[in-house]
Symmetry: C2
Subunit: 443 residues, 2 copies
């Protein structure tokens, strides 16, 4: 297991544009972040120079419970597809949170504890991040309030129960426990919520509570740093097997898994050592990369966070109730946005039914029931493998299997019963989101 | 990964009493079993001589998807308990079925396919066995009908959906699709069902369908043979660590996990090589070992299966709706029954609330959310570790963590909300079960 995380920014030729403090319209400083993030995490957020960051021993200890995670070759899937391609996946579902989210949850909870904080707040969409953070907080003895996107709260009562088992306080968002929640409810009492809303509520709660900070499971630079362990392990395992991927594929909501998985391969690209194709897969219902704008935007719907330059649909974009709750976010990691903008990676969007076809096909052949989020990557990996079948190319494909779908059976049932919708936003829908983009002076 | 299973019977000084054909009241022959089981499994059921059985390559291939399973040291649990004991667990939950059941499901599906059968029937309680068999049947291309105990069917809608994802036909039992089901419903239209009922229905369906056989996830000798891979792997891993358990603990419903986990350690006991303490843990609500009778009984409620000599509460005993559905069975593996009767192992029973206290405590410290069944073993392991704390003994404890509790959140919620009952059958309740025991001539 790696003892250091890798900070992709240290090898980027051009840095992502800085976060902007919306109050001053000036680049945010590390200190600007202290009311929201604990100090070491604020430092990691801003640090573009340190290439390798030591993983504290306490974090390594907890990682050891479930890491290194398995790198699997999908022999049965390859056979079922009849492809000459070799398909590998890095499986992050072997822990109770059921996903890769635990990698950053442990780190963020540890640093909060280390600073003497007593509680944290966060948001969760599909519930994977909330579960992961509940586990980590329970382990380190921190209190936790989770704002869970209302549509997920209703679709996934058992997810809520898991978080409660780990002593978390789970609140459906938007809620009437915060100003921003009350305001959003006043505008639309029947909204299913969004990650953007839930973030606003969680940040408000954190800054108005003593000894409390806010933590986030994706988008942030610090999260990509922590998640780099996925890619570092994958590369090490593939090195041992004498393999190097031609294509690396990951699903992308806020970018936590994708950024982690591709980190060492992107390093090879940035430093000219190798040139694998890197593919982000997003839902057609929430297409930040493929149909979004590269612009400064708020990370939340309530417009209380700093502004980040990223591919975004606008913080006012409320995605449809797609079953991949973890990918239902208007923005995208600023690091990945910059790399995409500069041509270092590709992006594709896929429709929900196609994703679940891939999920059930994968489950039957590989015996793992994937999370809907992960199934986006499976879809793209299968499509790549099927192209290889046509061309005869023996490509090596690596994709991230971020988690398991045990708490997504409502979605699977909808698919099995043929009741799944493939809603794709119209240009007018998108325009409404873009209209919410803030005016930021040219820099 | 071991390439052979170990057949405990080859080392038993006295064999379990033979199965009896209820039509003739004579010992059942291998051929008597052919209408119900496929031939190779009927052979394994009767074979008390072959010590090591080669695992066919096709089975090894599928095992490789998730095996060897991890042997973990519960460092954090030890620390939280403040015990000088070392606690190890063999974790079988790292596959989509969420439990050890897949080990035998793969074997049984493979042998059925190998014989040219086209479909199988089975029953499931908690749903772990049904899920495992659905996966295995889907993998080998066999049709499957699962009779799911009605109380579980209602408590666990998502379990049902997982099985359906793997193309299984899932029916709540008792159902009106079989004679025996209709009869049970006529007697008690509101019954929540039991494993015994569901077995009757599945057997009836199998023998009345062409090219179809019945398979069972526990109790049978063949199942213990397949599950021996758990113990063989555990022993190998502990050997590498230079460890040997003083105590081996497993939960016991029909005995599949317990029999598998203890197999090589029981071999040491039987051959005089070592003398670890072996402990079966059962729910106080369904106490086959601790309050049952060692007698010939039917394996099912409908009284259509052969008679087995075992610890039993009587096939007429309908257990209360305890949340550990997989332990809600009136009987017990004949092999384990014989060993228990001959003094080779101990048994304890534990109440439900205490089990869930252990489950949540374990989850918080080891970050794995255990199945309620598995939590019985956790409870006993924690109690043993706490005794060591009092005495200062540095015992090495090994227990079987059979699976995960993702589909048991209704139970966890009941526990968290303080709504869990600790029903224990009265002597009168048990007597009603014993009254259903068949009259079998003394042999």
């Amino acid at each position: 297991m790696p003892k250091q995380w890798y900070n992709l920014r240290a090898d980027m030729k051009e840095q992502p544009d800085p976060m902007i403090n919306p109050a001053t319209m000036q680049p945010a400083t590390e200190e600007d972040l202290y009311p929201v993030f604990c100090k070491k995490l604020a430092h990691q957020e801003m640090d573009a120079e340190t290439r390798y960051v030591d993983i504290p021993e306490e974090i390594q200890e907890m990682y050891k419970i479930y890491r290194p995670s398995p790198l699997c070759r999908a022999y049965n899937l390859e056979k079922a597809l009849g492809t000459p391609a070799k398909i590998y996946y890095k499986f992050e579902g072997n822990n109770t949170s059921g996903s890769h989210k635990l990698n950053s949850a442990i780190a963020q909870a540890y640093y909060a504890k280390d600073q003497g904080l007593t509680c944290l707040t966060t948001e969760t969409g599909a519930g994977q991040w909330g579960t992961a953070l509940s586990e980590a907080c329970s382990y380190f003895g921190l209190g936790l309030t989770v704002f869970m996107v209302k549509v997920s709260y209703e679709q996934k009562p058992f997810r809520k129960a898991v978080m409660q088992t780990f002593d978390a306080n789970v609140i459906a968002s938007p809620s009437n426990t915060t100003n921003v929640g009350r305001q959003i409810l006043a505008n639309d009492p029947h909204t299913g919520g969004s990650l953007g809303c839930a973030i606003s509520e969680a940040v408000e709660k954190a800054v108005s509570t003593e000894n409390c900070r806010y933590v986030l499971g994706s988008v942030l630079n610090q999260v990509l740093l922590h998640q780099s362990i996925i890619g570092l392990e994958a590369k090490k395992a593939m090195d041992i097997l004498g393999e190097y991927p031609d294509v690396v594929i990951g699903c992308a909501g806020g970018g936590s898994n994708l950024g982690g998985l591709i980190a060492p391969y992107m390093q090879d690209k940035l430093t000219g050592k190798a040139d694998p194709r890197i593919v982000a897969v997003e839902p057609a219902s929430c297409p930040s990369f493929t149909r979004g704008k590269y612009a400064y935007d708020f990370c939340d719907t309530g417009k209380i966070t700093p502004l980040a330059k990223m591919y975004t649909l606008g913080s006012g974009f409320i995605p449809s109730a797609n079953h991949a709750g973890g990918l239902r976010y208007h923005g995208m990691s600023p690091i990945l946005s910059k790399l995409y903008h500069d041509g270092y990676m590709d992006a594709v969007s896929v429709e929900q039914t196609k994703v679940f076809e891939a999920a059930t096909f994968f489950a039957k052949h590989e015996t793992i029931l994937p999370a809907p989020e992960s199934a986006h990557a499976i879809r793209a990996a299968m499509d790549e493998a099927l192209r290889c079948k046509e061309t005869g190319e023996e490509k090596t494909i690596l994709f991230g299997l971020t988690g398991t779908g045990y708490f997504d059976m409502t979605a699977y049932t909808a698919f099995l019963e043929g009741k799944m919708s493939d809603y794709v936003p119209t240009d007018e829908d998108l325009q409404r989101g873009f209209d919410s983009l803030p005016q930021v002076p040219e820099r």
